[in-house]
């Protein structure tokens, strides 16, 4: 990227200058700056509704004094504006500190001086816009021509490359070159007055090779088929049911029903139902839950790129790492950022993440999953006399304070006498965090392990996340329905 030079203004002399400004004034500070470029292609019914490109800079400067944070966001990257924003953030931190009730310190961590680069087999800069358009048009055509029942198709392609710098008062200086790509496909179909839609996406960190997998190539074909399949689906009947969740749904369940309540900022602010559960058995004994956003997950899953929820370092300069949340049913760790780990006097585990350099880091998940065990999927269905087999999700959310969560499945099949039966749509599942983990009665083997990628929202910020697991069975779940 030719704009790389813009970050070279953070040279040693300038950093020394900032360190001097901060001395005796603040206890901790950090600066994040990003220069990025990217493309968006948005097609509906095989016509382009947006073909765009951008070039942007973002910078956020944070200062901390004794429990108070100041944050200043700027867009023009030059030494004068950075210095003046730096001073502003110090002033804000002082003001905040003068008002707060809860004093605490940030524990100093080892500095990191390193450069990271996402490995791209087919760098985005080597792929011209015509080629990207050709790919999108092809997906649109496949979706539109797959059936007469299809009324509307949409395909969105987004990519971006960025150069990033992170500097903090521990002496860290981290450079990163990142590259991401995401392709979304949405298909609507209609039959006898009934409209249904399906949506699928592929995405990851890397270059154009992300779209070379079989799954990516068949994206629109799959979406179209799903949309048509849903036309004949039945509306669900509400009540209490045993469900079998596929890996995507199992991942959503663990993200919503456990992950959010493990975010240590919510624990400290008394907003998490898990605030007094550390070290206690909160799930059945055979359950292990992990969050591991470190690089290399893609390879383990057989993908030629890094998955969407992975990162080298978090947005506070802490290396991404594997964290065991639940071990043999016992709650072992919360997810931390610099602040929560300092306040609980624990090592940080790399979960301070922000949606961009212009936003402040919060405690967020990365790649959250349930470890596989020993059930084979066929056995699992046969063993389930009556219930619902739920596949893939539409969305989910949770209230970490009350513990009530809910999510919606894309496909749900009735199971009768151990056999997969008719398809239902728009099945909504609900439960309570502390109850549901003890209702998981079977966990599938490693052959069934899978993951999904998406965007997770919290406090007005969206970050890339992944979650996953094997097939799992959960007893006694509340299913919402129209009938």
């Amino acid at each position: 990227m030719e704009t790389y030079d813009e970050l070279s203004l953070f040279d040693n002399a300038f950093i020394a200058d900032l360190i001097q400004e901060a001395e005796h004034n603040v206890e901790y500070w950090d600066i994040r700056a990003t220069v990025s470029e990217g493309t968006t292609l948005d097609f509906t019914d095989q016509k382009s509704t947006e073909i765009s490109s951008y070039e942007m800079t973002n910078c956020g400067i944070r200062a901390f004094i004794n429990g108070g944070w100041g944050f200043s966001v700027l867009k023009d990257l030059n030494k004068d504006s950075i210095r003046s924003s730096f001073l502003k953030s110090i002033k804000l931190a002082k003001l905040t500190k003068s008002l707060l009730k809860n004093e605490f310190k940030i524990i100093e961590r080892d500095p990191i001086e390193k450069s990271f680069k996402i490995d791209c087999k087919l760098p985005l800069s080597d792929v011209n816009i015509e080629e990207k358009i050709k790919l999108v048009k092809n997906h649109e055509k496949i979706a539109a021509s797959s059936s007469k029942l299809i009324t509307n198709t949409r395909t969105i392609y987004m990519d971006g490359v960025s150069n990033n710098i992170f500097i903090n008062s521990f002496g860290s200086k981290i450079k990163q070159t990142l590259s991401y790509l995401r392709l979304l496909n949405m298909v609507y179909s209609r039959k006898a007055g009934i409209i249904q839609r399906s949506l699928n996406s592929v995405g990851g960190l890397g270059g154009f090779e992300i779209l070379s997998t079989e799954k990516a190539e068949k994206l629109s074909e799959k979406t179209a088929q799903e949309s048509i399949k849903l036309l004949d689906a039945k509306s669900p009947i509400g009540g209490q049911f045993t469900i079998i969740a596929d890996p995507k749904l199992a991942g959503t369940l663990i993200h919503e029903a456990l992950g959010h309540a493990c975010e240590a900022d919510l624990v400290l602010s008394k907003e998490s139902i898990l605030k007094e559960e550390m070290g206690k058995e909160i799930a059945l004994q055979n359950i292990n839950v992990i969050d591991d956003p470190s690089m290399g997950q893609g390879k383990k899953l057989g993908l030629p790129y890094e998955i969407f929820g992975s990162y080298f370092i978090d947005d506070e300069g802490i290396l991404s790492q594997k964290t065991t949340i639940i071990e043999n049913g016992v709650l072992k760790n919360y997810l931390h950022n610099l602040e929560t780990s300092s306040r609980m006097n624990l090592p940080p585990n790399g979960h301070g993440r922000a949606s961009s350099s212009s936003a402040r880091p919060q405690v967020r998940m990365g790649f959250t999953y349930i470890e596989p065990k020993d059930w084979n999927i066929e056995e699992l269905i046969q063993d389930t006399k009556n219930g619902i087999l739920c596949e893939d999700f539409l969305y989910g959310y949770t209230n970490p304070t009350t513990g009530n969560f809910q999510f919606k499945c894309k496909f749900s099949y009735k199971i009768e006498n151990g056999e997969k039966k008719e398809l239902m749509r728009d099945v909504a599942l609900s439960g309570m965090i502390l109850e549901v983990l003890k209702k998981i009665s079977a966990v599938g083997d490693k052959n069934t392990f899978g993951h999904s990628q998406g965007i997770c929202g919290k406090g007005g910020q969206s970050v890339r996340v992944c979650d996953g697991g094997p097939y799992i069975r959960v007893d006694d779940i509340t299913v919402g329905g129209l009938n």
Partner: protein, 461 residues
């Protein structure tokens, strides 16, 4: 703060670059946005975090005569980068697909309505210390209550300037302010230790209208009402929607369903229902952009087109003219834009959005609505949204209470409900006189009969 950038000159420069590089384009538009904000956050009922920031950027949207579109944006406000992004937009336009549905960008034909109080000039002298006073109001409410154990919340002040210039003669600029305060109150029952939360927020154009105390008190009331949650049995019963519930289940879905883009692509459950009755006679909805001082009010929309008041649903009839348009969807249908082009920032192409969507209040007293229910649900909020294409809704009641013999009883746990929106509209039997304004919505209490409630209490018990 931006005196160094002459946005008018930069916009004209961008058009010149377009003229020079592709003189026979059909039309082009430059959009420049600038904003500044200030934000204070409360965590654990204490000031924790303060932030100031600014944002700016320029985008160009350009069309070829065959309707093909190119778009590019940057926040690097210098001629060198602007020249590059204009050239990029032209490149994008040349590789795009022809679109015969595209007619034209707006032309300067109509006068603009006067809409006042969209900009509060007190923001110019607003200090972070003043902002903190509002946050202190939140904190006091929590400190003074025995059951309140924690609160998170925030106060934000925003000022935005937008400037739109197109090759058809539109040239408008305007400034607006937005102030926001919110509270998420955590309460713990002193006797049984039960914990719950309640949320409330305000969004206003004028700083003087922000009331932190009232916001936190309302959040506290919601939180207390959400204690002692119990599961209930599956049953059909009437539901009273609070104003927030009305937004979740009526106004928000209607906002999506009357979006002309959703409608034209047949992604709306109201497709084919224009000039037809879609629900109870009691439903009257309009989208009004020209009310002084309201959050959804504007003089011009995201394409510089004049904004106005539009009737959407009259006595339960969805009007022929009840769709919200930008210039693209209006051109496609052969009507005039309704001034609903919406643009979250310079970096997005215009989509379609509501102005102030208003469900007209009815005649019922709010208390009577509840008093007349023998057994039912008071639904304060759901985080779920219906499938707009089908109108089917099934989801969780995030905050709701059981009503028994006209009295509000315990809160609900793990209680879901399902209904098709057209049935919901049909089953509306009463609308309250009282209403609340949340952001761009104006919502009364609404009574709906015969809703399928799915409880988690087993039938055996």
């Amino acid at each position: 703060m931006y005196e160094d950038i002459d946005i008018f000159e930069l916009a004209k420069f961008a058009i010149k670059v377009a003229d020079k590089n592709f003189s026979n384009y059909k039309c082009a538009e430059i959009f420049i946005g600038k904003s500044e904000y200030l934000n204070i956050e409360v965590e654990e009922n204490s000031v924790k975090y303060s932030e100031i920031g600014r944002n700016h950027g320029i985008s160009i949207r350009i069309y070829q005569t065959n309707g093909s579109i190119g778009f590019a944006f940057t926040n690097k406000m210098n001629k060198k980068v602007v020249e590059k992004i204009v050239k990029n937009a032209i490149k994008m336009m040349r590789v795009g697909t022809p679109d015969p549905n595209f007619k034209n960008l707006p032309e300067k034909l109509k006068p603009y309505s006067m809409v006042e109080d969209l900009y509060d000039k007190s923001i110019k002298s607003l200090l972070i210390e003043d902002a903190i006073d509002h946050v202190k109001d939140l904190i006091n409410v929590c400190t003074e209550d025995d059951q309140a154990i924690s609160q998170s919340g925030d106060f934000t002040a925003n000022s935005n300037l937008s400037y739109i210039f197109n090759s058809n003669g539109i040239e408008v600029s305007g400034e607006e302010t937005l102030f926001n305060i919110s509270s998420n109150m955590i309460v713990k029952d002193t006797i049984n230790g039960d914990v719950s939360n309640g949320y409330e927020s305000q969004m206003k154009r004028m700083l003087a209208d922000i009331d932190g105390t009232k916001t936190a008190e309302e959040a506290l009331k919601n939180a207390k009402r959400n204690l002692h949650r119990k599961k209930i049995k599956t049953k059909k019963m009437p539901v009273i929607l609070s104003p927030k519930g009305t937004i979740n289940l009526i106004l928000n879905p209607i906002a999506s369903a009357i979006n002309a883009e959703m409608y034209q692509y047949k992604r709306s459950f109201l497709v084919g229902k224009r000039e037809k009755k879609i629900g109870s006679d009691l439903i009257n909805i309009n989208d009004n952009a020209v009310i002084n001082g309201r959050v959804g009010s504007n003089i011009f929309d995201g394409e510089g087109f004049p904004c106005r008041n539009k009737k959407i649903i009259e006595n339960g009839h969805f009007l022929q003219s009840g769709l919200l348009h930008n210039s693209y969807t209006a051109g496609k249908e052969g009507v005039e834009s309704t001034g609903n082009a919406s643009r979250s920032s310079f970096s997005s192409v215009p989509s379609i959005g509501i102005s102030n969507l208003i469900l007209q209040p009815g005649t019922a007293q709010n208390d009577e609505l509840i008093q007349n229910v023998k057994e039912g649900i008071l639904l304060n909020s759901t985080a779920d949204s219906p499938n707009i294409a089908t109108g089917d809704f099934s989801g969780l009641i995030s905050q709701g209470n059981l009503i028994q013999n006209g009295e509000i009883k315990h809160a609900l746990n793990e209680t879901m409900f399902g209904i098709n929106l057209l049935d919901l509209f049909e089953n509306i039997t009463s609308i309250s006189k009282e209403y609340k304004i949340y952001g761009p919505y104006s919502a009364p209490y609404v009574k709906i009969d015969n809703v399928q409630i799915i409880g988690a209490q087993s039938l055996k018990n």
